[in-house]
């Protein structure tokens, strides 16, 4: 069996860790949702909602995935929630009413009221201990894999606007991310994907080489990203993401829609495979 190809199931659930940068700079303005922290929360909430939809067959959510949401910033490392997907479905923090466009059956669109659950509230202050967050994620991955060695390889999705701070966190992040990618279970190595919410207009989606990147933050996050496994190609196509042979699981300065697609892609590999 190819690496990272095991399908999520109730017998062998997948494991996703969302690492969320909650440092002070995340309060900076962002075209979508006012600031970066609001946008990140929206993306995570929407992704979990989507994961509930794909693991739901009517009135029951099947526990095919376990999710940890880990914030880093203030407090330094905050384990916000770790649960099976059905528990997220049962108990969001709150539910907002929103609008969604759906087909009217005659080729047009109508706007309807839907309920949007919230599991992550935006927050932004202090430093960016990304290395420590990855270190914690590594321990979680090891803990999960020691108990479930035959399950799909875990996936870590890190969402950040820049470099770790203080400086030693950068070296730590480089070292630990490589250690995570070197761990292994029967399905292969855990995957680390990174999504960079930058300030420039130099958009970059799943690049193959570091030379394609505009700035130091993007180059750093590229370095700590895994190569997209071949088994994820189908999921990438479904999200209309142009993934090439040696692409890494990394986006930088993507427009909001592409950004959301990337997070959905990173978190849906296991649910899109047979």
């Amino acid at each position: 069996m190819a690496s990272n190809s095991k399908q999520w199931s109730s017998a062998t659930p997948g494991y996703i860790i969302f690492l969320v940068d909650q440092s002070g700079s995340m309060s900076e303005p962002y075209p979508e949702k006012g600031n970066k922290a609001n946008f990140t929360s929206m993306v995570i909430n929407r992704t979990i909602n989507e994961l509930i939809n794909v693991n739901m067959a009517g009135d029951k959510v099947k526990d095919r995935v376990f999710i940890s949401i880990i914030g880093y910033g203030n407090p330094a490392i905050n384990e916000i929630r770790s649960d099976y997907i059905s528990k997220y479905a049962e108990s969001p923090i709150r539910i907002e009413t929103g609008k969604q466009k759906v087909s009217d059956g005659n080729g047009g669109l109508i706007e309807i009221d839907v309920q949007n659950p919230i599991w992550l509230e935006p927050t932004a202050s202090q430093l960016t201990p990304m290395g420590s967050a990855l270190e914690f994620a590594k321990k979680l991955v090891e803990g999960w894999m020691s108990k479930k060695p035959d399950n799909p390889a875990p996936v870590i999705i890190n969402i950040s606007d820049g470099l770790p701070y203080p400086d030693e966190e950068e070296q730590k992040a480089l070292k630990v991310s490589k250690e995570i990618m070197a761990l292994s279970c029967s399905d292969g190595n855990p995957i680390v994907f990174n999504a960079h919410i930058g300030d420039s207009n130099a958009k970059c989606i799943c690049p193959e080489t570091v030379g394609e990147l505009p700035d130091d933050q993007a180059k750093f996050l590229f370095e700590i990203s895994s190569k997209v496994p071949d088994s994820y190609i189908e999921a990438a196509q479904k999200q209309a993401l142009a993934v090439k042979t040696n692409s890494k699981g990394f986006v930088s300065n993507a427009d909001p829609e592409t950004f959301i697609k990337f997070i959905n892609f990173g978190s849906s590999g296991g649910s899109d495979k047979r």
Partner: protein, 373 residues
């Protein structure tokens, strides 16, 4: 021609009969049979598969299945569910988004000296004539193009929209042999193992328990995908008569299995609790130093109060022991749950008296294990 029928069904590993979205139906009064596989990531696929097979076998003679009628029935049934007070937010959202149930389908009709079959998707009909010389002599039907490749994109009927793919139909003269109608996981296994698979079906699968045992073994050997699995085995033997007569009809009723499951279901305190997150938080001192705001450990790791390091260490040890206890407790509950499931199956086969079952339940109550009514 004399007809004997066997039918077996089971769910994915680590799921329940109530999660199973495969369905089959047989009607011996008009010799109609059907099997359907509800796509598990669609909306109420079990309702959809159920409606398709039951509508098909209820039809008279050569009447065609009306998908429009099936869609109306599905919508009414789902609307009833969505209009209940305790409807979940995600169910309501999916209904508002007009999501649909999807299912593959195979239908078989025997009439006089002919049989007619139709199929959409990767559920299969195999007809294995008596005296055949192997796989190439079998009649196979699905809407999968050749060479058959099992993937995640089968054709299907949709409960709201147009079908995906083209319904395939065949008709053949009635001869001695056996029909096997099955959903995709079993079909793939039959394609891979051919005569060996049919031999196993014919020789080993004499009842639901045999079937389930076999499925567990095949999954363990990685030769069968972990998917809902259902099969109808319809054997025809020439008895010298011109009419169809029915001998043994032994079709496992899924509702019965669901009911037994409900009775034997143990109410546990969150058996799916995963302890590794707590264990990680406790075991790594470098993480602890930067994480004094873990929601459920704040009290244990407060460093600014009167607690000494020793007290913290003791507290951590206690938490570790507690986690280990929870682990053992969880495993015990799962073991007890599996024993109780066995009791349920055993009592169904061996007729253990209700009085005896009550005694077992009372004994288990002493250990804090209670039951749903």
């Amino acid at each position: 021609m004399k007809i004997n029928i066997r039918g077996y069904i089971t769910h994915k590993e680590a799921e329940k009969y109530s999660d199973c979205a495969d369905r089959y139906a047989a009607n011996t009064s008009n010799s109609r049979f059907a099997i359907a596989d509800g796509v598990s990531k669609s909306f109420f696929p079990d309702y959809w598969a159920d409606i398709l097979v039951n509508e098909f076998v209820a039809l008279d003679l050569d009447k065609e299945l009306s998908i429009e009628n099936c869609q109306k029935n599905w919508l009414n049934k789902v609307a009833d569910k969505v209009n209940t007070q305790d409807v979940k937010w995600y169910t309501k959202n999916a209904f508002i988004r007009q999501e649909s149930g999807l299912a593959t389908f195979v239908g078989l009709r025997i009439e006089d000296d002919k049989w007619f079959a139709s199929a959409l998707g990767d559920s299969f009909l195999f007809f294995v004539p008596n005296g055949n010389k192997g796989f190439d002599d079998w009649i196979k039907l699905s809407s999968k193009p050749l060479p058959v490749l099992f993937d995640s994109f089968p054709d299907y009927y949709s409960s709201r929209n147009k079908q995906h793919g083209e319904l395939q139909r065949i008709e053949h003269p009635l001869v001695e042999g056996t029909f096997y109608l099955m959903t995709d996981a079993l079909s793939e296994w039959v394609f891979n193992k051919k005569d060996e698979a049919v031999k196993e079906i014919n020789e080993k699968w004499q009842n639901q328990e045999d079937f389930e045992r076999s499925i567990t073994e095949l999954r363990f050997l990685n030769v069968l995908n972990n998917d809902d699995s259902a099969i109808l085995i319809i054997s025809l033997k020439n008895d010298g008569r011109n009419t169809l007569t029915y001998g043994d009809v032994n079709i496992q009723n899924l509702i019965e299995l669901v009911e037994i499951e409900k009775v034997s279901e143990v109410e546990t305190i969150n058996t799916k609790r995963e302890t590794f997150v707590d264990e990680v938080k406790l075991s790594d001192s470098s993480i602890m130093s930067t994480s004094d705001n873990f929601p459920d450990n704040t009290e244990n790791h407060e460093t600014s109060g009167n607690e000494t390091k020793d007290e913290i260490k003791l507290s951590q040890n206690a938490q570790e022991i507690f986690n280990k206890c929870i682990n053992v407790y969880d495993k015990s509950l799962m073991k007890i749950e599996s024993i109780i499931r066995s009791i349920g199956k055993f009592s169904r086969k061996r007729k253990i008296s209700e009085e005896e079952q009550k005694k077992v339940k009372e004994k288990l109550k002493e250990y804090g294990i209670s039951f749903k009514n």
